[in-house]
């Protein structure tokens, strides 16, 4: 069993422990805590205003643009990491390649900027 698997076993166990730990804490908490639910208590807290309807749905969709841009740049990242590691081997060729790639994405960013899509409200 090489170190590789051992390492990831660590990762897995940490992950699992995280979940278990949270569960344990919450269980512990639920064991000791009082339980006196009332309708008023279970109502959504909106700073004292009466909550009207569910909160879901009907939000301005342009928030979505940020998520969208993020996804695009996140995808860029998966290329950036191997590139950064290999960058000395690839040389100028790699730089130009990545330069074009990033340039194209930045063009999109510029577009979004000019189109006023980067405004939050």
């Amino acid at each position: 069993m090489p170190d590789y698997y051992l390492s990831y076993l660590y990762v897995f166990v940490f992950f699992a422990t995280g979940a278990v730990f949270v569960a344990a804490l919450l269980t512990l908490s639920s064991l000791v805590q009082p339980k006196k639910p009332t309708a008023e208590k279970l109502r959504t807290y909106e700073s004292g205003e009466e909550p009207v309807g569910p909160a879901w749905g009907r939000y301005p969709t342009h928030f979505y643009i940020f998520a969208l841009l993020f996804v695009v740049f996140d995808v860029e990242v998966i290329f950036l990491f191997p590139w950064a590691v290999l960058f000395r081997d690839l040389g100028w060729y790699g730089l130009v390649e990545m330069g074009i790639f990033i340039f194209i994405l930045v063009a999109g960013l510029y577009y979004a900027w000019r189109k006023d899509a980067l405004r939050w409200y």
């Binding site: 805590q33 879901w56 939000y59 993020f70």
Partner: protein, 383 residues
């Protein structure tokens, strides 16, 4: 397979080591959180000319401990309108990745959970997972404030993830590896990465502030606007794990990354002789950063959400991209020395530090001019 010490069976040693690591990390997180909350309160109090917690225990040291007990014993209210699946899953979703991040943190030469060859990438990945928990928490509450807070948090987190990663990649360009241990080993002397890539550090630092919801980017918790953001409906221990543990854990992780990447990690006087000494240096450096975080919280005002997003997309991302390109080109042009890169980085940092206020002033002037002309649209309510 690592040979166990004292002739212990390697398998048993592996299991043992794992168990020890987990226990240590959890203890670290919990104690760290308790300590850090206390520290933060105290520090803020001092800076604001107050006393801070002093009732419970000496100097109020046990205050946070008492708080923790209170949290555990508190009634757990889940509003009837919430989405059960998400509501329950959210705490685990934010806590687990944070915990798992500690696997690759290089405390000292012998004390590393696992030296993944893609260590930095792994950390990035976990950072990305954290967003999920926050969005889900906000969504699950079915509370307009919480949802808005979740949306904002998500928007902020995902936005700042980009400059954060870009800064990391800039550092990787110089270092050429993703392994946290190797990165540390590459900076043995007093000349650490910070001297070569100061701008990348600064951008990373800013992004990290936002990623951990720290002031001036702590909008999700802007009480005056959104109650407690995505945490509004969370109470009791759910709140405890979500905020107290996870947030401080995340702060620790980010600071650890900064320490490793820019400040030589465990390297310090005497580490060659006594590797275990590395843990001291590492912890010291990391906590120094944490204190800086707190200092900033006490000093800076909170940004408005649109300013925050603009700053990321229109300022930080272009800047980090520029830095990345310049660094890459200079590294290729001068393969044998880092001096040009360092010079360029410092120059860029200087330009940034001077240019940003200048730009702000110009913008302000323009807005005033428009106001004077009466063409300013009615202020829109931030959503």
């Amino acid at each position: 397979m690592v040979e166990g010490p004292f002739g212990i069976d390697p398998v048993l040693w592996a299991v043992l080591r794992l168990a020890i690591a987990i226990v240590l990390v959890i203890a670290l997180i919990m104690n760290g959180a308790l300590l850090l909350i206390y520290l933060e309160r105290k520090m803020q109090a001092v800076m604001q000319d107050r006393i801070g917690p002093y009732h419970v225990g000496p100097f109020g040291l046990l205050q946070t401990f008492a708080d923790a007990i209170k949290l555990i014993a508190k009634e757990d209210v889940r509003a009837s309108q919430t989405d059960a699946t998400f509501f329950i899953a959210a705490p685990a979703l934010v806590f687990s990745p944070m915990l798992a991040a500690f696997v690759v943190v290089p405390f000292a030469p012998p004390i590393v959970g696992a030296d993944l060859s893609i260590g930095l990438l792994y950390l990035t990945t976990l950072g990305a997972m954290g967003v999920l928990g926050i969005v889900i928490a906000g969504w699950a509450s079915n509370n307009k404030y919480a949802l808005m807070g979740g949306l904002r948090s998500a928007g902020q987190l995902i936005s700042y993830e980009i400059p954060q990663i870009l800064s990391l990649v800039t550092a990787v360009l110089v270092l050429g590896t993703l392994s946290m241990v190797e990165i540390t080993e590459l900076q043995p002397g007093p000349i650490t990465n910070i001297f070569v890539l100061p701008l990348a550090f600064v951008t990373f630092f800013m992004a990290a502030l936002a990623e951990t919801n720290r002031t001036p980017f702590d909008l999700p918790e802007a009480e005056s606007e959104l109650v407690a953001g995505y945490l509004t409906e969370y109470s009791g221990m759910r709140w405890g794990t979500m905020l107290a543990l996870t947030e401080y854990g995340n702060v620790t992780i980010v600071c650890a990354i900064m320490t490793t990447l820019w400040f030589g990690g465990w390297n310090g006087p005497g580490v060659e002789a006594f590797p275990i000494l590395g843990i001291l240096w590492f912890t010291l450096k990391t906590y120094a950063f944490i204190l800086v975080f707190m200092w900033i919280r006490a000093t800076l005002p909170r940004l408005r959400i649109d300013q925050l997003m603009s700053f990321c997309w229109k300022g930080l991302i272009p800047l980090t991209l520029l830095n990345l390109g310049v660094t890459a080109a200079l590294l290729l042009a001068f393969p044998d020395t880092l001096v040009p890169v360092a010079i360029a980085n410092w120059l860029l940092l200087g330009a940034f530090a001077l240019g940003l206020p200048a730009l702000q002033r110009r913008r302000l002037r323009r807005i005033r001019a428009r106001l004077g002309a009466g063409a300013m649209p009615a202020p829109r309510s931030a959503s």
